[in-house]
């Protein structure tokens, strides 16, 4: 008999300690710093000192990445949940329309959507005579929240479909209306099922935020490149990029671990 296919398997004990990966990155980083230090000519500040000098600026950029990810996740979730519910609507046009919107944004590359929003959204809006400027990072947040919305919609639809039909039938037998069944019986059960993939979606969104640098938002990636450009020292390239990669890793890896732990906890035995 074939065994069940499980992606979220807890890591084997040999690999499990988080510290090991952190350590590996630090070793990699230290090696690159060491190698770069050897190339530093006399009279120049050391590699570590240079990186430390830029850290406050990079941290500001990274904070913007986090802010974009929070905001895009909030917008995407708020828009994606109703869209997902519409996908199981009994009205064919609503169902078909929401299916189309979901598939369209799920199938379009994130970067293309980002360009789309960046170039075609207005840079300022006129609200009752007041000119309100829309900064680039807001526009790119909207761009990122579109694919999040579509993925969220699919998550909701999948979760609702994964609830056994018996739940619907039992609620029906107890004379709940369709709306009541959805709100009081089905969706509460979906929340638990959707939490791990929702966290996974957040992690995916977070690693997608540097895309905003391509459309000119001053986030961590842009600032790293600016710092490298102003230093104009080639031996700085490897350590600096590794530093940024490590920052993202430190933020995303715990989320991935927590997702796995939750999946394990919620797994049906």
């Amino acid at each position: 008999m074939l065994l069940p296919f499980r992606l979220a398997r807890p890591a084997e004990p040999v690999f499990s300690p988080t510290a090991r990966w952190g350590l590996m990155l630090i070793v990699l980083f230290a090696l690159s710093v060491g190698a770069a230090e050897a190339q530093t000519s006399a009279g120049q500040p050391g590699i570590l000192a240079t990186i430390w000098k830029w850290t406050p600026l990079l941290a500001q950029g990274f904070a913007l990445n986090i802010a974009i990810s929070f905001l895009a996740m909030a917008i995407g979730t708020a828009a994606g949940v109703p869209l997902g519910i519409c996908q199981i609507s009994l009205l064919p046009p609503l169902r078909g329309g929401s299916w189309f919107v979901t598939q369209f944004f799920r199938n379009s590359p994130w970067l293309v959507l980002l360009f789309y929003c960046m170039l075609l959204l207005p840079f300022e809006v006129n609200i009752a005579g007041h000119i309100v400027p829309i900064p680039g990072w807001i526009k790119s947040t909207v761009g990122l929240s579109l694919p999040v919305m579509a993925n969220m919609s699919e998550l909701v639809r999948g979760a609702i479909r994964s609830i056994p039909a018996g739940q619907w039938e039992a609620a029906d037998a107890l004379a709940f209306s369709r709306r009541q069944i959805l709100w009081m019986i089905i969706l509460p059960q979906c929340v638990k099922r959707m939490t791990p993939p929702w966290m996974n979606l957040y992690a995916i969104l977070t690693v997608a935020t540097p895309l905003c640098s391509v459309v000119g938002v001053s986030e961590a990636m842009t600032l790293t490149r600016d710092a490298l450009a102003s230093e104009a020292r080639n031996e700085l390239l490897v350590p600096m990029y590794l530093y940024l990669l490590a920052a993202f890793f430190v933020y995303c890896y715990p989320i991935a671990r927590a997702t796995q732990a939750l999946e394990k906890k919620f797994a049906v035995k």
Binding site: W110, Y116, V214, Y241, L245, Y253
Partner: protein, 249 residues
């Protein structure tokens, strides 16, 4: 076939409505957009194939006896899964690309690896890291008895892996694999950032030259959605054809 009436219609459309679709009636723009499209497809196909190879080899190495090898592999997987692909690409192209360059004539540095090759390497490794986990899960779903039966028939570890475990595991993990491969096709657009002349990059050149941002943006979006849509359709068909009968995960 003669397309000139069609091209003329788009030229008329520009005159009548101002919708400036130069990629249809301007042969220079048409060809560069077409080559951009081809580059995109070539990049996607190469990355798809290589990432599957990385996944298969990696999943096999995960069963290796050496702890160091397994540890290094796990480090690679976690690193690529939890860091932004764009930063990885920059790291490969600018940082490693600099390390792997030589002093050419006149003091200019010559890179040894082209931007297209860096995009292929980086994206294959990125998607490969996910594929390893997917194949691993598929391999674990193959029962021990099947492998033991293969061993009893005199298969070596590699032989049993190639002829018995992998074909079964492949079919089991196909839905998850498809998902990841579709993601890879979408992620190839980031190679725009290192000036690989794919569709997004070419479209950017065109809208800079012709000042037709909204038109090109819509063309681009439709082109990508159709491209990915075709991949999704083919993959789903394949998935249904290769489904293990009676297998419910």
């Amino acid at each position: 076939m003669d397309f000139s009436p069609l091209w003329d219609w788009f030229r008329w459309l520009n005159g009548a409505t101002g919708i400036k679709l130069t990629i249809f009636y301007d042969s220079f723009d048409r060809w560069r957009f077409f080559y951009g499209f081809l580059t995109s497809v070539r990049l996607q196909a190469t990355c798809l194939a290589l990432s599957v190879v990385v996944g298969v080899v990696g999943a096999w190495l995960q069963g290796a006896r050496s702890r160091i090898l397994r540890g290094a592999l796990q480090g690679y997987i976690q690193f690529f899964r939890n860091t932004p692909p764009l930063v990885q690409l920059y790291f490969f192209y600018f940082a490693l690309g600099y390390v792997l360059s030589v002093e050419g004539d006149g003091g200019l540095r010559q890179t040894l690896v082209s931007s297209f090759a860096w995009a292929v390497i980086c994206l294959s490794l990125y998607a490969g890291a996910f594929n390893i986990e997917i194949f691993r899960a598929g391999i674990e779903a193959v029962p021990k008895e099947t492998v033991e039966a293969a061993e009893a028939l005199g298969y070596s570890r590699l032989g049993a892996y190639v002829y018995i475990v992998l074909p079964l595991a492949f079919r089991i993990s196909l839905p998850a694999l498809n998902n990841n491969l579709v993601n890879l096709v979408k992620t190839t657009t980031i190679s725009y950032a290192i000036a690989v002349p794919e569709m997004l990059y070419v479209a950017n050149q065109i809208w800079s030259d012709e000042v037709n941002v909204p038109e090109m943006m819509n063309v681009l979006l439709i082109a990508y959605v159709s491209l990915v849509g075709v991949v999704v359709l083919v993959m789903n068909k394949w998935e249904r054809a290769l489904r293990v009968p009676g297998y419910v995960s």
